[in-house]
Amino acid sequence: MTADARKQAAAPSSLRLVMTLAIAGLVSGIAIIGIYESTLPTITANKARELREAVFKVLPGVSDMQALVYREGRIVAVPKPQKDEPVVYGGYDERGDFVGYAMPGAGPGFQDTIALLYGYLPSRQQVVGMEILESRETPGLGDKIYKDADFVAEFSALSVEPEIVAVKKGTSTQPNHVDAITGATISAKAVVRIINETHVAWAEQLPAPGTEPPFAGEPADNGTGQ
């Protein structure tokens, strides 16, 4: 005990070590909280704006949107979906009439998960637009799923009943056919599969056409949304 104490006398006391670290941690914590608080509004606004832009892109003629979730057996509008809760976005025109759903879907692509958003009109059972939100497909080949305008245009009026089929380029004959991309068949088929799977997953839960929940928020404003 005494030997230890003598040895420590040369070195700074443990109290001093603990205090140094504590003060450093405290100052660092305050700095981090400060930067978090001051950037949070911009970050959330950016994210919301990105989402709105994507929704408006896949659902032509839409000027407002709200998040819809499936709770207690029916689709309800919520201001803020819970974390990890499956969600679709209802799109509404200027008069507040329902236009269609923007449905997020994700699944494995050639390299990594592909996350996408597609616009769906329940009245016509058609996909009217598709936007890739996230993908790490091979540059130059697989990335044509969003860089190739022809491929993206395939999804502007596409039947989902019966399910979408990716066919060899130039052989599409049916309304539910998509021309695959030469050299990137796997990525193209992955996109089709993701849409099919998302459609099936939601098919039972979406209400009959015409009975969608009305728009709950303020009529169209160009704010960044909540």
Partner: protein, 340 residues
């Protein structure tokens, strides 16, 4: 070099001085490849000459550029650069721009051989390394297969061949998928006679299986190649695909289809047997060959790519030092139980 006493194995390389030298062996391989090269000229016309010529030019230029001033002539005389360029050229699609073929040859020698310390020190087959680089760099051009016999006869070339350096190739003429591509993506089986005599889409050298086999037999007669490697690879592929055929004959390729489609013959006979990048011991050669065969089938059947010969050989190249290490024969006069 015949094996007489089963307990005393003689290997090539450092044991005996004999008439066989590197330039001679290389020349033999080039001679063995001539029929297949001629066939590629016959099928694809002048385009074949342009692509193969550019890849040889790239390989030789790299060889010359990076050689020591003292050994410059030497490294050109042993013809390994020419052979690498020729082998690479035969694995390229006929419509490939000449500048890409040139780049492939250059990279193959520079990154595949020179950087390791020159001939005999490289871990990977330079021609395949060049091809792997091209495939990763220009995936579209490297998988655009034009059909044989360009319209204007022998002297016409594909527009793609003449693309300016660094510029894209215009795709012209009819593109046709390779038999393996057809099988994988369209579930279409190509007739076997077409496979054997070359009426198929594919790279310059892989379209005529029979001529490749003839060249292999010539090399075997000249004792230039370790017969265990091609036999082991082809045997493994045949057994593997026959085995798969037991489960679902419709979905999986037949053994003969597996052997004659894609670059398997070219790879098994001319590339896997590269003495520098394959094991020297007989046991090692068998391990190497079987491993390559299994990898080829795994990639072809279960992988995302239609063809896997290149990656299979490169992967086994990487394993070669290890195989050599574990298959060293007992040193004469030393005990069995104690490893030195």
């Amino acid at each position: 070099m015949k094996q007489r006493d089963p307990d005393l194995l003689l290997f090539h390389a450092p044991l005996l001085r004999q008439g066989m030298t590197t330039p001679k062996a290389m020349r033999d391989v080039i001679i063995a490849l001539l029929p297949a090269t001629g066939a590629s000229l016959w099928f694809f016309g002048l385009a074949a000459a342009l692509v193969i010529g550019s890849s040889i030019a790239g390989a030789v230029l790299a060889e010359w550029l990076f050689a020591d001033r003292a050994s410059r002539g030497e490294s050109l005389r042993d013809a390994t650069g020419i052979l690498t360029g020729l082998l690479l050229g035969l694995t390229l699609p006929p419509g490939l721009p000449m500048w890409m073929a040139f780049l492939g040859g250059f990279v193959g020698i520079a990154l595949g051989k020179v950087i390791w310390g020159g001939l005999g020190h490289n871990l990977f087959n330079p021609a395949l390394l060049g091809r792997a680089f091209l495939l990763a760099t220009f995936p579209i051009a490297m998988t655009t297969w034009v059909s044989a016999h360009p319209e204007g006869g022998f002297f016409s070339v594909y527009a793609g061949n003449l693309a300016l350096p660094f510029m894209q190739a215009q795709v012209d003429g009819v593109t046709s998928a390779t038999p393996l591509g057809l099988l994988k993506f369209e579930q279409e089986v190509t007739p076997l006679t077409n496979l054997m005599f070359g009426k198929i889409g594919g790279s310059l050298g892989e379209t005529n299986g029979v001529l490749l086999l003839l060249g292999g037999i010539y090399l075997w007669l000249r004792r230039d190649l370790d017969w265990r490697i091609p036999v082991g690879i082809l045997g493994t592929v045949v057994i593997f695909s026959a085995f798969l055929g037991l489960f679902d004959a419709e979905r999986f390729p037949t053994p003969l289809f597996s052997v004659f489609s894609g670059g398997l013959l070219l790879g098994a006979i001319y590339m896997a047997t590269d003495p520098v990048t394959s094991p020297v011991t007989p046991r090692g050669a068998w391990i190497f060959a079987i491993g390559t065969g299994v990898l080829v089938m795994l990639i072809r059947v279960f992988g995302g790519l239609p063809e896997g010969v290149m990656y299979a050989i490169l992967l086994m190249n990487a394993a070669t030092p290890l195989i050599d290490r574990y298959t060293q024969p007992r040193v004469f006069g030393h005990g069995i139980e104690k490893e030195s």
